[in-house]
């Protein structure tokens, strides 16, 4: 196959003709897909999610169970109500769960070393796990629950209001005493909210543990504090084209004696590792170089960090929250990467090795951490503690697609 053929993405729109407005060499084309077209999934029906939301929006994708990651999503595509389909992510998956304990009892790399998707660890869900939803099966094994649920206001403006819904897909993997609920929330406005809920039982609550490393529990035991650091690998292929996505850092920098804020955008041209900076409202967006919305603004999706806790351990991959790398299939895990390609590094900092990312297929890695200090209410059984972040449309549409 030629290199040019590689530009056409697998999840194609067929049927209605593309509406292309060529406004001159320097002006990119408008959204190139039509609302009523059928999607040509790159998977068989058993592995498709093809969901129309209550407001008419659509989420479509393929899924795959893999031993390490559990559920991997492919070709994630959003269609606003009455609008045009746009592919957002070529591939999306959790890429590590790192659990170091405060007493250094253990430092677990749960995803790569134990495998969220193995038959030993992936739960066969029951109807009770999935109230008001549909179980998604592989053969006779219920690997996921799919539910559309109310999500509160879509908007409220005096007497005008709209109600939002969200499509929730989740699987559950038990690793040791923990059960991880790996969830993807797809909102009807195009927002994607990846989340992981940690529930089950405490893994380290011995009477012999150092009380300065945790919290006293019943029976003289110490619930040892620990981190849950989650890393996602997000292969954006905005509008189905993979060599024209650009990653930018957005920030609001204090100026004029901290009375004003200068809003900045910085485009990355080489692979990069970046930290969260809540004090300057740092976020990142992946924009398409060519596709514009009806206002003439580049379509993009913005990564909004969740920075409640920040963890810096001795491991190099904990030194940053965001990594932007040139796409390589064999760079799959943020740590303990399966080194299936000759010379492939062991963890994501090694993937950042100075390669240019302009006009290259890029992958964004995002990590967030939660320090769990046990409490009596964790027994028995533990409430899920959730960690996640948001990927929101920025200028995907010229106006709010959920308002009439």
């Amino acid at each position: 196959m030629t290199a040019a053929a590689g530009f056409s993405r697998r999840l194609r729109v067929i049927g209605a003709a593309a509406a292309i407005f060529l406004l001159g060499a320097a002006v990119p084309v408008a959204m190139n897909v039509a609302a009523d077209a059928a999607l040509d999934f790159n998977c068989s029906p058993e592995y498709q999610v093809d969901h129309t939301m209550a407001n008419g929006a659509k989420w479509q994708m393929c899924w795959e169970r893999r031993d390490a990651e559990g559920i991997v999503l492919h070709d994630v595509t959003y269609t606003p109500p009455g609008g045009d389909s746009v592919e957002v992510l070529g591939r999306a998956a959790l890429a590590q769960i790192f659990v170091p304990y405060d007493d250094n009892w253990a430092r677990f790399h749960d995803l790569s070393d134990y495998g969220l998707g193995t038959i030993d660890h992936l739960n066969d869900l029951t109807a009770g796990d999935c109230p008001n939803g549909d179980l998604v099966t592989e053969d006779t094994y219920n690997v996921m629950c799919q539910t559309e649920a109310p999500a509160g206001y879509s908007y409220k403006d005096y007497d005008l209001q709209g109600q939002a819904t969200s499509l929730n897909l989740f699987s559950v993997s038990h690793i040791g005493a923990y059960n991880y609920v790996v969830a993807w929330n797809f909102d009807d406005d195009g927002t994607i909210r990846p989340e992981v809920g940690a529930t089950g039982q405490l893994q380290n609550d011995f009477s012999t543990s150092d009380p300065t490393r945790g919290w006293p529990l019943g029976g003289g035991r110490i619930g040892v504090g620990h981190m849950h650091s989650y890393y996602w690998r997000l292969d954006f292929d905005l509008a189905g084209t993979r060599f024209d996505d650009r990653v930018e850092e957005l920030e609001a920098v204090p100026q004029v004696g901290n009375t004003q804020r200068r809003n900045t955008r910085r485009a990355f041209t080489t692979e990069v590792a970046r930290r969260v900076a809540p004090q300057s409202f740092r976020s990142w967006r992946v924009r398409d170089v060519n596709e514009l919305n009806a206002d003439g603004h580049p379509i993009s999706f913005e990564i909004l960090p969740n920075t409640d806790h920040i963890f810096r351990g001795p491991e190099t991959f904990t030194q940053n929250e965001l990594y932007v790398t040139k796409h390589r299939t064999c760079e799959r895990f943020a740590s303990h990467n399966v080194q299936s390609c000759s010379g492939s590094p062991n963890s994501v900092p090694g993937f950042v090795n100075g390669e240019g990312i302009s006009n290259q297929d890029t992958v964004v890695w995002y990590g967030t951490s939660f320090h769990h200090l046990p409490r009596d209410e964790d027994e028995d059984h533990m409430h899920p503690h959730w960690s996640g972040f948001s990927i929101i449309p920025r200028d995907l549409t010229a106006t709010n697609p959920t308002a009439p």
Binding site: N104, R107, F108, I119, E138, Q201
Partner: protein
């Protein structure tokens, strides 16, 4: 180092049993006619890959020795440039307990050809059920570990451990020494060797403060407590 205990459990029979537990039982509901794109390997595709791994096609076979264990057969994720061509290949990961080497072979399940085969360094895939069972057997066979378990069980419950089969549950997981810089002693070989760490709870959900580490490559318990803090 002699590996006298391994041949007893890493024969072809266990290789086949290992495959049966690798997810084949929850994959491949569809016929091969329907398989496409990012679908996981079908049962037929997995069987084809397994056949090659077992050497049923001598001209193209990966070739398994008695000390080899198939750890994983999974759809090969193709580079995007070729993904649209409908190529369906399998990653077959084989661990050689003879020399502690993990090999990846990429098998074209349509043509039956092994396209590539290479050593995968510094990687420990998750344990398969046969390895988990073997780790528990080795721990059970070690008198000192049994005594340590009895003590830890009494400490956790106030009771004597009389019937481990009904009183405790064990979750073995793969252990790498480099996951924790505090690791010391014989367990530092884990990672170069294939090791399992056992997490033990009582059947009424109390944690037992004992996480022994078993070197599956040598068949020895390398840490009875599993704690280096």
């Amino acid at each position: 180092m002699p590996h006298l205990t391994r041949r007893a459990w890493t024969g072809v029979g266990l290789v086949v049993a290992g495959i049966a537990a690798l997810g084949v039982t929850i994959a491949g509901a569809q016929t091969d006619d329907a398989v496409r794109g990012t679908d996981p390997l079908s049962a037929d595709e997995t069987e084809t890959a397994l056949g090659l791994a077992r050497g049923s096609n001598p001209g193209e076979a990966i070739g398994l020795g008695d000390d080899d264990l198939v750890l994983l057969i999974e759809r090969h994720e193709e580079n995007k440039d070729v993904a649209e061509d409908g190529l369906r290949r399998a990653d077959v990961y084989v661990y050689s307990y003879d020399d502690d080497v993990l090999t990846l072979s990429i098998v074209d399940v349509a043509t039956g050809e092994v396209d590539q085969s290479r050593v995968v360094p510094n990687t420990q895939l998750p344990l398969i059920p046969e390895e988990s069972e073997r780790a528990q057997e080795l721990a059970t066979d070690d008198p000192a570990t049994r005594r340590a378990l009895a003590t830890a069980y009494r400490q956790a419950t106030g009771r004597d451990l009389t019937d481990p089969a009904t009183e405790i549950e064990v979750q073995p997981i793969v252990f790498r020494a480099d996951a924790n810089s505090a690791t010391r002693g014989p367990a530092t070989t884990c990672g170069r060797h294939r090791c399992a760490q056992l997490f033990i709870t009582t059947t009424d959900d109390l944690l037992v403060d004992l996480t022994p580490i078993i070197d599956l490559s040598t068949g020895r318990v390398v840490s009875r407590t599993g704690s280096f803090s």
